[in-house]
Structure formats: structure tokens, C-alpha cells
Amino acid sequence: MDVGSPLGGPATSGIADALKGALPGGTGKASQEQRRVTLILGGVLLTLGLRRVSFGGAALALAGGALLYRELSRQSGQAGAETHMAEVTRSITIGKSAAELYRFWREGGHLPRVMGHFAEITETDMDQAHWTVRVPGGRSLSWDTRVVESRPGELVSWQSLPGTELPNRGEVHFRPAPGDRGTEVTLRLHFQPPGGTLGAAAARALNGLVPSLLVGDALRRFKSLVETGEIPTLDRNPSARASTA
């Protein structure tokens, strides 16, 4: 496995298992369930994090703590009612021109690799793509996106087509950087309030934990691919861990 993924390493299965147990089986008071799931997830992360005296552990504990804090600081009556949209914006500077980067993003066929750390993407044509994301609990969500705006050398924006449990949209901006520094690239991902309990749990999990790392990783992967022709990876990294055999 790629231990470089944000929640990689031994903790991943623990979180997945915890979620599997925590995910509600049927219908019911959805908002209560969502709150419970978030609280459990936050607690599990905090506990796992604090138990592992390591850097990854500290990161987990922080993430878990933040999730707990957010959930507990809500008025209990409003739990789940106010489902904030998750929106994450991150920027990176890449040593190529805006025109080159635009072409790379739009026409290069590289998106499946750039986003490969969290989604499987199949590009059906230049404007449409099919996304599949694995969420904790061994399930997956998928949706189709369509490019809704694209201005050469400036931006590309896309959004999911109706009918997904996790409606979302995204955009990437290109802006020349000063001096010889290339282009400032900004990626924004936006997940809308979900329908259904699974979608809710997934969105909450995304909202509280993953998106900032996920978007940051996507940008770094894009930058490395464009600047060096490859993405750094720990794939098939020799170690005495069972998972890399």
C-alpha cells in the first residue's frame, strides 16, 4: 500500500473498522446518527492519535480533536441541521507558464494520475469524467462531472451531474507568479450537503478530515508530474511490514 497517503499506515484500517461499526444500518433520525458518527470518528482518531506516539499520531489526534470540537460546539438541537458545505482552497506555485499548465490540465490526460491518491477517474472526453471515491467502511461513491467553464491559460471549472450522493464542484485557476517563479495554481473543491445517511457520513468525514490534505496532495502531485515527469511514491517500497510484501 502507499503509506504516503494522508491517512496511510496502520491507522487506516482502524478508522475504517470503527466507521463500519458506527455507520447506521437503516433509516431513522438521520441527523442524530450523523452527529453520532462524527463524534465517534473524532474520538477514534483522537484516541488512535494519542496512543501512537508518532508524527502521524499527532496529526490524527489533531484531526480527531478538531472534529470533536466542531461537533460538540454545535447547539445540540441543531446537530446535522446545518450541514456546512465543505470547501477547500489550496495554492501552489509551479515552474511552468500558465498556458502550458492549462494545456496539461485540460488536454494532457493526466488527471487520473493527479487525483489517483483519492479517486479513480475515467475521462470520457475532454469535458466529461467519471469519478469513484472509496469512503471508510469499504463502500464507494461515484459521480460524473462536466466542465462548465474553461478559459485557456486561466481556469477550468467542473461540476458533478445530478444524481450523486455527494454533489460537488471544483475549479483550478492559473495566475502568473512574479519573477522566474512560474505560475500560481489554485485548486478549489466544494462538496454540497449530501442526501442519505451514507452520503452524510462520507461528506462529514471528508469535511472534517481529508479535504485540505487531499487538495494539497493533488496540487503537489500535479506539480511534480509537470515539473519532473513523475509523481514521488512509496509504491513497492521495501520494508519489513506485512502490507508491502
Partner: protein
């Protein structure tokens, strides 16, 4: 293949692990011919530096022979005998193009996880923690080297492995530390630490034109090495009450023009300051024992340079007021080895630099755990343990 793995704090084991493979087009697979211990390994072996995972293959100072090369590797080829810096650099990003190789933007697969620690992430280091990339290290029979055209340097004919091995890490780190001092004619440079990096910093300061070099350590055999192999003047701080006063007198009351810290977070020392550091570190309230660094800051002349090579984490009691009031220049980095290796190989060919005396002890890879035990405790005058897998 066989490899020396970190299994937990103070728990190293030699195990059988999968062979490395070419994964990316700029990778090579190296058959390791020599690999050595480095003081910075001790930080995670002792558990002061986090983000190791059980089973990680360690080791980051090495040389070898190219066994296999990826499709985009142009400059090195199968059969080449090469030495490789410990930090992985892409050669293409802004930092690499400005000779700041250890700050590479494109080689750390865990950059997003490291960034919150430092503000912005560094490049990756072989055989080190997952915050620094998590790549498998060199205490193994084979290893994968990404961006091989940037990292692999051909060894000129006529140089023995022992002469070249330390050009992977100790020599470029020490040379960089001396280079940071912007040495002018007449300059006196003081170096804290006579391990591999400290000795290389002393020798580099002389190569770069220092008038005199003063070395500070507590092990008589290391101080003797500094005198015999380099010509440094030495101070044994364990035997003298006041290092600052001695430095003051040795430099006509001016102080050294530049001070190099080649010690880092697990510095030893004497007196109440050291006891305080040790207590705080034992309680895990700080990661560092900063006595050597604080002493170097106090010792350096007004307007002088402090060059920090020692590995540090988060330190309290950092005397910024001394730095500010004395108008010091502080420079520091993990080694930019790719920048210095061509120069160092030239010095080696001309006979001006021969670090082979650092290789005080040889071990087989299977003896790895015992070698690290001896290295850590500096038993039997061991300066560097060298593995020949």
C-alpha cells in the same frame, strides 16, 4: 534481500524484505557496496524524532553500483560505480535550480504531512522518517534511488570505496557548513563536535581558507583524530571548566569569526544548563539539548557567523537576544549534497580530502544492531560503523 530495519525505539533487526523495483522512470536500483551509520539515525532510534513505522529500512549514507535503470535515466547506466547524497532532489524545481537541493519540492511523497511541522515541506531523505519521505534506506543489499541522474555521481577511477563513502553525507554536510561561513583570510573557525560531520567541517574550513580551526568535543580519541588528520587545535570540554574563556584567550579576545554546530539535539555538556536540558528532554517537554548550540552562539565574535549542521527539533531557551545584539548571521540547512559533490570528488582526486579514516569499524549487515549499539555508545573508539552488505 536482507536489510536493517527499525522495529521500535531502540529495536533494530536484520530482516528479509522484498527487493526494491524500478517504480518511476528516473529510478535506478543500486547494489549497495558500502553504507555507514550517521549520528542523525540515533534521533529516531532513541525515539526523539517521530514518524518512523515498524519495518522501515534505515540508512542514508552510501555508495553502490547501478544494477538497473528506469526508462528516462540518461546519465548513469548499469555497472556505474556511484556515490549518492542522502537527500533526494528532482533537479527541476525552483529550489534545485537555485542549488538548494535538500529543499526540493518534488521528492517527498509525504510533503502534505510534513508541511504543518515546518510551514513548508522539505525534500525527502533516504532511510529516514516518514515526514522526510519514508523511502527505504541503504542498510540493505539493494535500494531504489529516484531521480538518479541528479543524485548519482560517478566515482572517478583510482578512488577506493572508503575514500568515497563519506562524500554521500558527512563530507558535503561539513563542506556546506564551512561554505556557509564565508571564510575570509585570517578567519578562525570553531567547530562543536568531532564526529564524521564535525571532522569534515573542520577539514573543509581549512580547504576554504581558514587560518585556524578549533575543535570542541569530549572524547580524547576523536580530538586526537582532529589534531592528527586535520591539524585542528582542540578543547576537551569535559576537562576544562570554561570553554568560552578558553576560546576567548585562543582568539585574542575577539572570538571565533565563525562557529559551526555539528552536534545537534542530543548534545552532551556539563553543569546545571546540561542537567536542565536533559531533564526537559527526558520528560519529552523539548526534543533538544541545546547546550552546544547556545555555547556556539555565545562564543562567536560580534558580527560573525553561526552555521548550524546539527539536527534540531523544537527548542526552548534559544538565545535570540544574543544573536540580535551581536549582529550574527545564522545559516543552516540539511545538506545540499548535489551542489557540493563535484567539488568534493575533485578534492578527493587531488588528494586534498580523504575521509577514509572515519571508517574505524567494519561490520557485515547482519551485525547491524550491534554496530549501532557500539556507535551510539562510542565504544572502542568507534567513529563510524561501515557495512559491506
Amino acid at each position: 534481500m536482507r536489510a536493517l530495519c527499525w522495529e521500535g525505539v531502540n529495536d533494530l533487526r536484520v530482516q528479509t524484505v522484498p527487493d526494491p523495483e524500478i517504480v518511476n522512470p528516473h529510478d535506478v536500483i543500486l547494489r549497495i557496496t558500502m553504507s555507514t551509520t550517521c549520528g542523525s539515525d540515533l534521533h529516531f532510534i532513541d525515539g526523539y524524532v517521530p514518524s518512523m513505522l515498524p519495518g522501515d529500512v534505515i540508512g542514508h549514507e552510501f555508495m553502490g553500483v547501478v544494477e538497473d535503470a528506469g526508462s528516462e535515466v540518461k546519465k548513469v547506466k548499469k555497472g556505474d560505480r556511484v556515490v549518492v547524497p542522502s537527500f533526494v532532489a528532482c533537479g527541476d524545481c525552483w529550489y534545485c535550480q537555485h542549488d538548494l537541493y535538500s529543499l526540493c519540492d518534488n521528492t517527498n511523497p509525504n510533503a502534505e504531512v510534513q508541511a504543518p511541522l515546518l510551514g513548508y515541506p522539505t525534500g525527502a531523505c533516504f532511510g529516514y522518517t516518514h515526514a522526510f519521505g519514508g523511502y527505504a534506506g541503504s542498510h540493505a543489499q539493494y535500494m531504489r534511488v529516484p531521480h538518479a541522474d541528479v543524485g548519482c555521481f560517478q566515482v572517478p577511477e583510482g578512488l577506493r570505496d572508503e575514500q568515497v563513502l563519506f562524500l554521500s553525507d558527512a563530507a558535503p554536510t561539513g563542506y556546506m557548513g564551512a561554505d556557509f561561513c564565508d571564510i575570509q583570510p585570517g578567519d578562525i573557525v570553531a567547530v562543536w563536535g568531532c564526529g564524521g560531520v564535525g571532522l569534515m567541517a573542520q577539514q573543509s574550513a581549512l580547504l576554504l581558507g581558514a587560518e585556524r580551526v578549533i575543535a570542541i568535543d569530549r572524547f580524547p580519541e576523536r580530538l586526537k583524530m582532529a589534531r592528527d588528520h586535520i591539524g585542528s587545535e582542540t578543547i576537551n570540554y569535559a576537562e576544562t571548566p570554561d570553554v568560552l574563556a578558553i576560546l576567548h584567550e585562543m582568539t585574542g579576545g575577539r572570538g571565533p569569526d565563525a562557529c559551526i554546530d555539528a552536534v545537534g539535539m542530543e548534545a552532551h555538556g556539563t553543569g546545571p544548563g546540561y542537567l536542565y536540558d536533559k531533564a526537559m528532554q527526558t520528560l519529552r517537554l523539548v526534543t533538544d539539548r541545546g547546550q552546544a548550540l547556545r555555547q556556539a552562539i555565545m562564543a562567536v565574535r560580534k558580527g560573525g557567523t553561526l552555521s548550524v549542521l546539527g539536527v534540531y527539533g523544537v527548542m526552548d531557551k534559544f538565545p535570540i537576544g544574543v544573536i540580535m545584539n551581536k549582529g550574527l548571521t545564522v545559516r543552516s540547512a540539511q545538506q545540499h549534497g548535489q551542489h557540493y559533490l563535484p567539488r568534493l570528488l575533485e578534492h578527493a582526486v587531488k588528494g586534498e580530502l580523504d575521509p577514509s579514516y572515519l571508517a574505524t569499524h567494519r561490520f557485515s549487515l547482519e551485525d547491524g544492531p550491534r554496530a549501532y549499539q557500539m556507535f551510539k555508545n562510542k565504544e572502542d573508539g568507534l567513529v563510524r560503523a561501515v557495512f559491506t552488505p
